[in-house]
Structure formats: structure tokens, C-alpha cells
């Protein structure tokens, strides 16, 4: 896109401004809730056995490397978001397709998370409630936060982040009564090669840091984006690894892969006498609020990409239709088994193609076509 066309572009949606602390809270909560709370830990136990806790660190390191390319791309086009950059570097048509792929991923991701949450909630808390009843409550919250906007979501996550962190750490400490060191063995799991392989491919869990590229204009410059991205990946890596370490210590690896939600189960096993037991229901608060934040953010990002692709200036009317689409996608899997085998593992395993490969192609195209941004305040 030449400079003339760039100048003619309509002003895009106003998403507000927020600081690094808010952004770090948003991204970290999104990654941790996806990587820890649901079936993800048992899936990891299934593929790498006892090596989950350090396999996830390999994933985090891979994601940090992938994010470097995203950062380099953003650095080349200061003040632009990834949808605009795709268009500038690859042209309107190809850029549109790339943005469309990103949109599809961000629409599929909250839908699977919503269904996963619903199914796990059904298993542990509301066995008799229909999924649509559980989803209904959830979607009301998601729609409202979507309409209130990104700035509000960022502020809310900053508000609850310390509480969630304290509760999360307290949960892990309280669960230590069931830890047995011998359960860490065999320390190499199913073999180092397998661990590294899965560590590299499942890095997409941390790929949600790419959200920063979509909301780049709401953050305070590329330097901040770099800081936010790396801190979020490192913080979530530590938290996910700590949780994986804790459940490896709690459950033998052959049992861990059978448990629907190992972390929830860990909290249910806490027992310090008659008045201090069964913390699972209390843990439900942090589980639920984190998931609400993650799904709201991902849905908002999908709507935001859509608005940016089609030059729509007001995101609010898009939120409700997108929520309905999300609900519809979430209802597609026939049962929990289909959901886990067909959908839930799709993004952790193949998401990296969209999260990192597309920005790398755009970066190469920008280098080859000598495309560059107009300066820090362009």
C-alpha cells in the first residue's frame, strides 16, 4: 500500500490506551488459564509423562523466540497493528487472507475454551445442567466486557491479577501435603527427544502473546510491546511450569493423564482437618474469572481483527454476532471426547503456524519489498 492510500485510510476503532502492567496481566491470565486449568496438563502428561514441567519451559522459550519475529515486524512499522502490517507488506489481497487466518484462529480458540470450560464444569460441579445453561451465563459476561471495551478488560485483569496470583500460589502451597518426590521419576519422561519435540510444537499455548500485535496501537510504543511480550511469556512459563510440577508431584503420570482437570482435582484433595478441606469450590472462583477474562479477550481480538480488516470503526455492534458465532462453534463437538481429540489440541499443536509463520512471512516480504513504517508516531 503506498503512502497516498495509507493517508486516505479511515481512522480505525478506538480501543483506548493502557499501560504495561494491564497488558501483562491480560496476556498472562489468558495463557495460564489455557495452559493450566483444563485438560491441557493431562494432555501433556499423556505425551511426555513426567517431563511436563520442563517441557512447558521449552515451549515458553520457543514462544519467546517466535515473539521476537513479531516484535521485529512491529518495530519495522511503529504504531501499526498486525492487520495493517499484513496489508502493507503483502498487499491488500494476501494481507486480507493472512488477517483472515488470524481471525479464524481467534474465533476458534475462545469457542473451544468455552466448550472445554463448560464440559469440565459439568463434570465437577453441575452434572445435571445442560451445556447451554452454563454457556449462557458465561456469554453474558463475555458480551458485556466485549462491549465495555479492551481498556476495561485490561483494567479488570490488572485489578484481579494479584488476587488470582495469591490464590493460585496459595493453592499450590496448600496442595503440598500430597506431593511425593518419587513421582517425578522417570525424570526424562518418555525420552528427551520426545519432550523437546513436543516442547517445540506445543509452544502455541504461549503464542497468545501475538495479541499484542493486534492491539499494538493501544500500547505505549514498540519498546513497551517488547517488554510486555517477554515478561508475559516468562511469567506464564513459570506459573504453568509450577502448576505442572505440582501435579506431577501429586499424581503418578499414568494417573495424571486420566484426570479431566488435574489442578482442580489437586485442590479437591487438600485436607487439613475438618474445617480446612475441599478447596476445589473456592478454587473455582479463580478458575472461572481467569477463563472469563481469557475468552472475553480472545473474542474481542477476533472482533477487532474483523473490524480492522473491513475498516469498521465501531466494534460494539460486532461483539454480539461474534458471541453467537462463538456459541455456535462451541456447540459443534458432539461430546467431551470429540472436543479433546479433535479441537482442544488443534491450537496448541498447530497454532504456531498462524502465530509465528505468518509474521515471519510478512517480515521477509517487508525486507524484500523494502517496506517500512513512518517513524515512532506514524
Amino acid at each position: 500500500m503506498d503512502k497516498k492510500r495509507q493517508g486516505r485510510r479511515k481512522e480505525l476503532i478506538k480501543e483506548g490506551k493502557f499501560g504495561p502492567q494491564e497488558a501483562i496481566s491480560l496476556i498472562t491470565i489468558t495463557i495460564v488459564s489455557r495452559g493450566v486449568f483444563f485438560t491441557s496438563p493431562s494432555s501433556l502428561a499423556r505425551v511426555v509423562g513426567t517431563a511436563t514441567w520442563y517441557m512447558t519451559l521449552i515451549s515458553a522459550a520457543t514462544a519467546a523466540l517466535g515473539f521476537t519475529f513479531v516484535y521485529l515486524l512491529l518495530k519495522r512499522f511503529p504504531g501499526k497493528n498486525i492487520v495493517e502490517i499484513f496489508e502493507i507488506t503483502l498487499g491488500r489481497f494476501l494481507g486480507f487472507i493472512f488477517s483472515g487466518l488470524l481471525l479464524a484462529l481467534f474465533l476458534l480458540s475462545p469457542a473451544t475454551m468455552l466448550r472445554e470450560f463448560t464440559e469440565v464444569t459439568k463434570v465437577y460441579i453441575f452434572p445435571l445442567s445442560p451445556p447451554s445453561y452454563i454457556m449462557g451465563f458465561f456469554i453474558i459476561g463475555v458480551i458485556l466486557l466485549g462491549i465495555l471495551g479492551l481498556e476495561t478488560q485490561a483494567r479488570f485483569s490488572r485489578l484481579v491479577a494479584p488476587i488470582l496470583l495469591v490464590a493460585f500460589v496459595a493453592g499450590l502451597i496448600l496442595a503440598s501435603q500430597n506431593y511425593d518426590l518419587y513421582k517425578l521419576t522417570p525424570i526424562l519422561g518418555y525420552g528427551i527427544k520426545r519432550t523437546i519435540h513436543h516442547g517445540l510444537t506445543r509452544s502455541s499455548v504461549y503464542g497468545y502473546a501475538v495479541i499484542l500485535a493486534v492491539i499494538a496501537s493501544s500500547l505505549q510504543g514498540t519498546k513497551h510491546i517488547k517488554k510486555i511480550g517477554y515478561i508475559s511469556i516468562v511469567a506464564s512459563g513459570i506459573l504453568v511450569s509450577a502448576a505442572a510440577f505440582a501435579f506431577t508431584l501429586t499424581f503418578p503420570y499414568f494417573t495424571a493423564e486420566e484426570v479431566t482437570s488435574p489442578l482442580y482435582q489437586m485442590m479437591a484433595l487438600i485436607d487439613y482437618g475438618i474445617f480446612f478441606q475441599r478447596f476445589d469450590a473456592l478454587f473455582f472462583f479463580i478458575w472461572d474469572i481467569s477463563t472469563l477474562i481469557a475468552v472475553s479477550l480472545e473474542l474481542y481480538i477476533a472482533a477487532s481483527i474483523y473490524c480492522k480488516m473491513f475498516r469498521i470503526q465501531n466494534i460494539k455492534p460486532v461483539i454480539i454476532p461474534f458471541s453467537i458465532i462463538m456459541f455456535t462453534i462451541a456447540m459443534i463437538p458432539k461430546d467431551f471426547g470429540t472436543l479433546i481429540s479433535g479441537y482442544v489440541n488443534l491450537i496448541p499443536e498447530y497454532g504456531w503456524t498462524v502465530f509465528y509463520i505468518l509474521p515471519i512471512i510478512a517480515l521477509i516480504a517487508a525486507k524484500l519489498r523494502c517496506k517500512k513504517g513512518e517513524g515512532e508516531h506514524a
Partner: protein, 591 residues
């Protein structure tokens, strides 16, 4: 109701958004640097904006169709009637015309309060004074106005020009006088208790400060009691309230701007701020909101609050109200803007944040550890007031596994004879408690307190004996009520009371899941709120520098800066070493 329906309609239907610039108090480029000249720059910016608006208006006017002659005349006459500069609105040199206008304006043939006293100045020049009976101090009028003006030798040194000025400077011994020519101002001031003198042949009149109506004295604050602090509260008089603040803030930069309130009521409010500390953008925004309202009558500060707050549909208050002059003074010194309304024993302080509503002056008068304890108890009270009944329902309906079996069996036994479902039981008790509280407030004095206590005790006991509610629910409702009383801001406490019912319903519908969705929704709504451009949950969300905010009370010597979110012109509250008696070397070590 209609407004609510239109809001729902707006929510469902789509309209192309208007390009409205919401007021936001963003950090300026001068953040942390010398702030001199910010005012001028801001003024220039505003001028530029208003010029742009003017240009826009001009363009719009150009597009308008030309008016027919008749229409033009009508428009001209209409606007002529209202214009403040029209001859109708100006004092006439002929006394008779002025007299007729005043009589007409105050409907003096029916209105027995209005006193128009005609007399001759020095037995020569016709004049009259006008005032409202009961609003003025009669002694001032009789002894220092009428007596002086009627002296025969009064005009001995008068040289024949500018009679009003001569009388003002040489005759009247009243401390505050003002010349005025516009009727709308004159009428407004008469309504406020001033006396106005009209003189034949003069095209201006003289207004005297003669206010002398009955008012309540300075008493103890009724709703913000503290143990270790000043014990005086505001009353309903604007001047007294301003004085109470000025008596504490003895700063020559403290500015009081009087602004009119109400189109037909002629009441006033005072906007107070410390020049050089408060952000000029906030001051300008406060004045803009007050000046731009279009209402006949503003009953009190509460009504003004409706008119000036950012999001009137939100449940939570977005301005801070206090009846304590010491609190108002600390707001001023923090950099906030204070609005004092005539007729209200509360002042309004803006911008307000959620955490400032949980503070009282008690903390600053105590040691910081004690203050922190009080603040933590208050937070606990807030939590109990908001969530306790909802959690109780959720626990008993969905999460019995969390309750220890002994406790669960005792609860089950106590509920054995209760015929209602738990939701009905809780709502029944909550509504009864709200009734007792409301009745206790409405019945004056000691009877109200007794009614509250007796009502609570007897009703609770009777309800348990009759088997309508379980004893444990009485404890839950009582703790909830106590928690609500611990919230220092009445308006916030009321919002929490309303929200509690939402959590009761959510707890009954979906247990902890429903409550967590409720927390998410309510938290989101609160996070989206702003008070005069400042996010409501500052300094936590968004995180800003300084001030512990949530739970900790820091000792006075470590509170070196004013709240960052207020973007004050002068950031520092103290010097580098507030406890100057402890000498420090360069490394900061104590000597």
C-alpha cells in the same frame, strides 16, 4: 423509565457513532516536568478548539435556508426579549419604570414577602429600596441604609455627578456594596437576600450585602463520625460552609468561584480549588458541566451530582460527598475540586475514586498500623455486605462439600422447620432488615435508634420461633448489615446494598459460578467508570504511582506525593525529608 427503555433500545439497535470527545484526564507531555505555562497552553488549545467549533457553526449556518422577513422579525424579537443587553434588561434612569419592572418581576401586588420601600434621599431625590422580608438583617437596613440616606445634610458635598458612586463612597456604612445595571443579576441577588437601591435619574443601582436569615449552627457531622478528629460538620449555608473550609485551608491560592445554579431558582454554588495544585483541565471541566446544565431548580448537591457525573446510569457514585470540613480541606490540598452547594450540608469533591470512598479522616489521625487495621476491617465489611448472603445460598444449594459435616448437619437441623426455599428465606430476611433500617432512619432521634434495635431483635427472634427463618440466617443477615454500616460512604453503601440482591439471585441460580460471573460483570462495569476523566478504580486499575490505595495506610512522612491520577500541577506534598529533625547524610542514612 422512558430513559431506561431508550437506553435498552440504543443497546439493541445500531446507530453510527457520533464523534464525541469524552473528557479524559490523560497525562500531559509535561508529566513530571516544570508545569509553568500549562494553563496558557491549555487555554490556547481550548481557544483553537472553540475557533474550530465556530468555523463549523459558520459552515452550518451557511447551509441554512434564508428566512422570510416575517420569520426573521419574529426571531429577532424573540431573541431581543432574552438578550441580557436589551433595554428591557437594563436599569432605566426613570425611577417609575424601574419600580414598575420590579413590581412586575416579583408580582408585588400578591407577593407579601417583597418589600419595596420608597423614600427621598436627603429629602430631595426620589429613590426606593427593595428586599425580601426575612432574608435580610433589618437592623442593617434601618440603621445603616435608610437612616443614612434620609439625612437632610447628605448632599452638602455632592457636586452633581455620579450620585450612585457618591452614595457608595461617602454615605453608606455597609461592608459590601456593588453597582449593577442588569435586571437578571439584580433579581437573582434580591432572591439571595441582598438589598437593592434604585435612584431616580441613575442608570445603575446599588446592591448591599444585608443577608440575615435564620440558619442552623455548626454541629457534629451526623453520618461521618470520627473518634480522634475535628467534630464539626457543614450546615446548609453556602457562606458558612466556604468559611469552614477556609478556616482550615489558610492558603492564599485557595480560589472560590461562585456559579449560578438553576434557571429560575437563582441559587448559587461555589467551586473551590487551590490554584497551582489542581489540574486546570479538571477545574475547567467542572465549571463547564455546572454552567451548561439546563434545569429550573437544583434542590441540593445530590441533584447537581446527577447532572454533572460521567455515567448517570451506573450504580456507583462518581463524586465524593462529605459533610466534614477537614475532609473537604484534605481533598483540596490533594488537588481535587470541591463544589459547595447552597442548601446542602454536604460538599461534592471531584474526581472521586472507589478507594477514596473507603477512606475516612480517622486513619490520618491514628498511627498508620491502626489505620491499616481499620481499613482492612472496612474491606472485610465491604466483602461481607456484598457477597455474604449470596455465598451462603451458593454453599447450601450447590457446594455443600465445602462446609464441614458438623456445621452442615447443624445448619440442616436448624432449617428443618423452615417451610421456604432458601432463596425466599434469604430475600425475606434481607427485605425485613432493609425495612427496619429505613424505618429507623426516617423516625427522628432516639425513637429511630430504639426502633432499629427493638425491631431487629424482636423480628429476628419471632421469625426464628415461628420457624420462618433459620437462626444461622439471622447471623448471616446481621453480619451483612454490620458490614454495610462499616462502609463510610453512604452512597457507596447503598450501591452495595443493591448489588447484594444481584449476588443473592446469582448464587441461587448457579452457585459460585454465578457469583464469579457476577463479580466479573460488576467488576467490568466499575472498571469502565470514570469520574471527571479519572478511572474509578485508580490507583489500582490502572496502576498509578504513589498512594497505597487499597489496604495500606502509610505514615504521613512517607506520603510525599499527591495522587498521580489527579495529574496535579504540584506533585510534591512534602520535601525530601519531611521529618526534618532527623538529619540525613547524602546517602540517606540517619545521623
Amino acid at each position: 423509565m422512558a430513559e431506561f427503555l431508550s437506553y435498552i433500545k440504543k443497546f439493541i439497535t445500531y446507530k453510527e457513532p457520533k464523534d464525541i470527545d469524552d473528557f479524559e484526564l490523560l497525562e500531559s507531555e509535561h508529566e513530571g516536568t516544570d508545569q509553568d505555562g500549562l494553563d496558557e497552553e491549555f487555554q490556547k488549545e481550548q481557544d483553537k478548539k472553540s475557533n474550530q467549533d465556530k468555523d463549523k457553526d459558520d459552515k452550518n449556518q451557511k447551509k441554512k435556508k434564508p428566512l422570510k422577513v416575517d420569520e426573521w422579525n419574529k426571531t429577532k424579537n424573540k431573541s431581543g426579549d432574552k438578550s441580557p443587553q436589551s433595554s428591557e434588561n437594563m436599569v432605566d434612569p426613570q425611577l417609575k419604570i424601574n419600580l414598575e419592572r420590579i413590581q412586575k418581576a416579583f408580582i408585588s401586588d400578591k407577593n407579601s414577602d417583597i418589600i419595596i420601600r420608597q423614600f427621598k434621599i436627603a429629602q430631595k431625590i426620589d429613590a426606593f429600596i427593595v428586599f425580601i422580608d426575612g432574608m435580610v438583617d433589618r437592623e442593617t437596613i434601618n440603621n445603616y441604609i435608610l437612616r443614612q440616606l434620609m439625612k437632610p445634610e447628605l448632599l452638602e458635598n455632592y457636586k452633581g455627578d455620579r450620585l450612585v458612586e457618591f452614595i457608595e463612597n461617602n454615605v453608606l456604612s455597609v461592608h459590601d456594596t456593588k453597582k449593577e445595571t442588569k435586571y437578571d443579576m439584580i433579581i437573582g441577588q434580591i432572591c439571595n437576600g441582598l438589598t437593592v437601591l434604585f435612584i431616580d435619574g441613575c442608570s445603575e443601582c446599588l446592591m448591599f450585602e444585608t443577608r440575615g436569615y435564620e440558619k442552623r449552627g455548626v454541629e457534629k457531622p451526623a453520618t461521618e463520625a470520627v473518634i480522634g478528629g475535628p467534630q464539626e460538620g457543614f450546615n446548609e449555608n453556602l457562606r458558612t460552609n466556604i468559611t469552614l473550609i477556609r478556616r482550615i485551608v489558610k492558603n492564599h491560592h485557595l480560589v472560590t468561584e461562585i456559579l449560578p445554579l438553576g434557571k429560575t431558582n437563582h441559587s448559587f454554588c461555589a467551586v473551590m480549588y487551590v490554584d497551582g495544585i489542581s489540574n486546570p483541565k479538571v477545574i475547567k471541566e467542572v465549571k463547564r458541566r455546572i454552567n451548561s446544565h439546563d434545569t429550573d431548580y437544583i434542590q441540593s448537591g445530590g441533584v447537581l451530582e446527577h447532572l454533572i457525573e460521567d455515567s448517570p446510569l451506573m450504580l456507583f457514585p462518581q463524586v465524593m460527598r462529605t459533610e466534614r470540613p477537614d475532609r473537604a480541606s484534605s481533598f483540596l490540598m490533594e488537588g481535587k475540586v470541591v463544589i459547595v452547594t447552597d442548601g446542602a450540608p454536604f460538599i461534592i469533591a471531584v474526581p472521586a475514586t472507589f478507594f477514596s470512598m473507603l477512606q475516612t479522616t480517622e486513619e490520618s489521625n491514628l498511627k498508620w498500623q491502626q489505620g491499616t487495621l481499620l481499613k482492612l476491617i472496612r474491606l472485610l465489611g465491604l466483602f461481607a455486605a456484598l457477597l455474604l448472603p449470596g455465598l451462603y445460598i451458593a454453599l447450601l444449594l450447590y457446594h455443600q462439600e465445602v462446609v464441614p459435616s458438623d456445621l452442615l448437619s447443624s445448619i440442616a437441623m436448624s432449617r428443618e422447620s423452615v417451610p421456604f426455599p432458601i432463596l425466599v428465606e434469604v430475600i425475606l430476611m434481607e427485605v425485613s432488615f432493609e425495612l427496619i433500617r429505613e424505618a429507623g432512619i426516617r423516625v427522628a432521634g432516639i425513637t429511630g435508634t430504639t426502633l432499629g434495635m427493638i425491631g431487629g431483635l424482636i423480628l429476628g427472634q419471632a421469625a426464628v420461633t415461628a420457624g420462618i427463618v433459620s437462626p444461622i440466617l439471622i447471623i448471616v443477615v446481621a453480619v451483612t448489615g454490620l458490614g454495610n454500616f462499616a462502609i463510610p460512604n453512604y452512597s457507596l453503601a447503598l450501591s452495595i446494598r443493591i448489588s447484594r440482591f444481584l449476588f443473592i439471585v446469582l448464587g441461587a441460580l448457579a452457585g459460585f459460578y454465578g457469583i464469579s460471573v457476577g463479580i466479573f460483570v460488576l467488576g467490568g462495569l466499575v472498571c469502565s467508570m470514570k469520574s471527571f476523566g479519572v478511572p474509578f478504580l485508580s490507583p489500582i486499575a490502572p496502576k498509578t504511582k504513589g498512594n497505597s490505595g487499597l489496604a495500606l495506610v502509610m505514615p504521613a512522612f512517607s506520603q510525599k506525593e499527591r495522587p498521580d491520577y489527579l495529574n496535579t500541577l504540584d506533585r510534591k506534598k512534602t520535601g525530601e525529608n519531611p521529618r526534618g529533625w532527623i538529619k540525613r547524610d547524602k546517602g540517606g542514612e540517619k545521623n
